[in-house]
Subunit: 336 residues, 2 copies
């Protein structure tokens, strides 16, 4: 049915090898090139990626393994990645592992079976064991959002400078005179969580404030967790005048809780949230938030992957990007 390279060869009187050369960007006589192009047009020829993949063992496909597809933080990045890669003729196969290590393992194996040329992963499993098979096969790996030290530096990584981001937000609250600043971080063992906490501590120390343990709440990066933990802080952390919530879902949870309890922002509590612009505008008052450069993260990820493919870059690198503080009206100077 569909035209093949053979049809083009017959039509032009050239050999298969020559057509293939054309298809792969080789140099050939101008009149032959023209003839081939004419034939391709006429026969509506399209390369059969399967035949090509079989021979060349490359699929022009990149696998993306993410913890959650219905998460704006994730999709905004992936959307950019997909756009860039598609432009270069690569398809993107997305696997949503639903924050499940077992599924994540399976996803990687699935993608390897599909002979993807590279894997982009926002890792769930902290020891990186799910990526072992990919490392063994030597295919390029790019990590998003969190590094995986256990991989021994074979993977590139694009992430936020979490420490600085948290430090910046905390500083802002300190500048406004707050000293009892609560923080909601994620699970203790998660990289972003540790780093954000580190930044928070660093800022406090900068201002000569001793971090009080009762002001630190470990949530689980979910809406419910945020809700629960902010309630705990409100009840147990006496004298708290400001709070910094370190991801989007928990920021949502916090807002819900504060609304329920009638805690006024910023009169009773100054609040800095994380990640989502729309939310910061719809909330009342508009929220001050730490905003990640999602577009840039996606661009860098795609770029790094493409550079690995083209051979421009062989050694893995880590790219750390900076967050910005989006000013809203949810903070105010502490009354002295």
């Amino acid at each position: 049915m569909a035209a093949t390279i053979k049809d083009i060869a017959r039509e032009t009187g050239l050999s298969l090898a020559t057509i293939s050369k054309y298809l792969n960007g080789g140099v050939l006589r101008e009149k032959n090139r023209a003839a081939i192009e004419r034939a391709i047009e006429k026969l509506d020829y399209h390369v059969n990626e399967y035949a090509r993949g079989l021979k060349s063992n490359r699929s022009r496909t990149v696998g993306v393994v993410i913890p959650e597809l219905s998460n704006l933080f994730v999709t905004q990045i992936i959307s950019v990645v997909e756009g860039v890669l598609q432009e270069q003729g690569y398809s993107v196969v997305i696997c949503d592992c639903r924050t499940d290590e077992e599924r994540e393992c399976r996803a990687v194996r699935f993608l390897l079976d599909k002979r993807v040329d590279g894997i982009i992963n926002m890792p769930v499993c902290a020891d990186g064991r799910h990526l072992r098979p990919a490392v063994e096969r030597g295919i390029p790996i790019l990590l998003l959002d969190r590094p995986l030290d256990a991989l021994g530096g074979v993977a590139s990584c694009v992430l936020l400078n979490n420490e600085n981001a948290a430090r910046m937000a905390t500083r802002r609250l300190l500048e406004l005179g707050h000293r009892r600043i609560g923080i909601l971080v994620g699970p203790k063992d998660i990289y972003t969580s540790r780093m954000r906490l580190k930044g928070y501590r660093a800022a406090l120390e900068e201002y000569g404030v001793t971090p009080a343990e009762e002001l630190i709440a470990y949530g689980d990066y979910t809406l419910e967790g945020g809700h629960r933990q902010i309630c705990r802080l409100l009840e147990e952390a006496e004298g708290m005048t400001a709070a910094f919530v370190t991801n989007y879902e928990m920021t949502l949870g916090t807002l819900i809780a504060l609304n329920e309890r009638g805690v006024r922002i910023p009169q009773e509590l100054s609040l800095i949230g994380f990640d989502n612009m729309d939310l910061s505008r719809v909330a009342r008052p508009p929220l001050t938030i730490v905003s990640q450069p999602l577009e840039e993260i996606g661009l860098q990820a795609a770029r790094l992957m493409l550079e690995r493919f083209s051979g421009e870059r062989t050694a893995p690198v880590t790219v750390a990007l900076s967050a910005s503080l989006q000013e809203g009206k949810s903070t105010r100077r502490r009354r002295t």
Copy 2:
């Protein structure tokens, strides 16, 4: 490097044909089956999808073309679709066309080049011209969210019963005594928009209320559009005591605008929004919303596609699902 079917054949002393039969679920002697399984395990054999695809002309891949990847409505559906298809060994290639008809065309062609077995599409281009090449090749097409009559019924379709959804929401407001009910719909020429408007009108007529044109605002399904149009309604639609906003982004825009203007909900305006549960909880007061069965939509879409593949179903069908009304506290009885 990697083991092939030949290696399995050598290891087991069986022929290629037999191994292939095993791989494709054929029936064979128990001891041969066991031997093959042992060999596969031992040699860590994995099917080469490219060789298989070349022969069988099937890719075990489904293309998904969507208008926007960073849109919860879309991703929640796609997430389900991906999960189901993956379980059946299919990969999902996602193309985000950014609500651009030209890109949408290109995406379809791209997927055809990739020899996808089927295409799932939430169409942007209303005349379906982008799908023509797919129709010609006879590959199964499944439309999400909106039908495409111009395709002449060759595509299956999974969508919301938009008319009923809007009628239900409008009825609710009517029951509460409201008579001057504003509605924010999308662009006039968009299917969902037309249907939702139709449902609104139907409900009004049911209650003997003549729909007033000044209560109908055509937005563009964006946050900004929602913001602008609700402002217009507030200014021009005298005596409006309730409003129904028919998608998520515009609901966000509406909330922002109402907050800005200090319009109290539900005291001054009863509000029913659309689509997103989290928002309905974080907003203050919690929002009453029309909620789409996203999970079900995804399941049906995947199921229908798989049935086409397996040959269980040959004729295209349209599945219309019902929305539910999620009660919040953003509506109240009109004071008489």
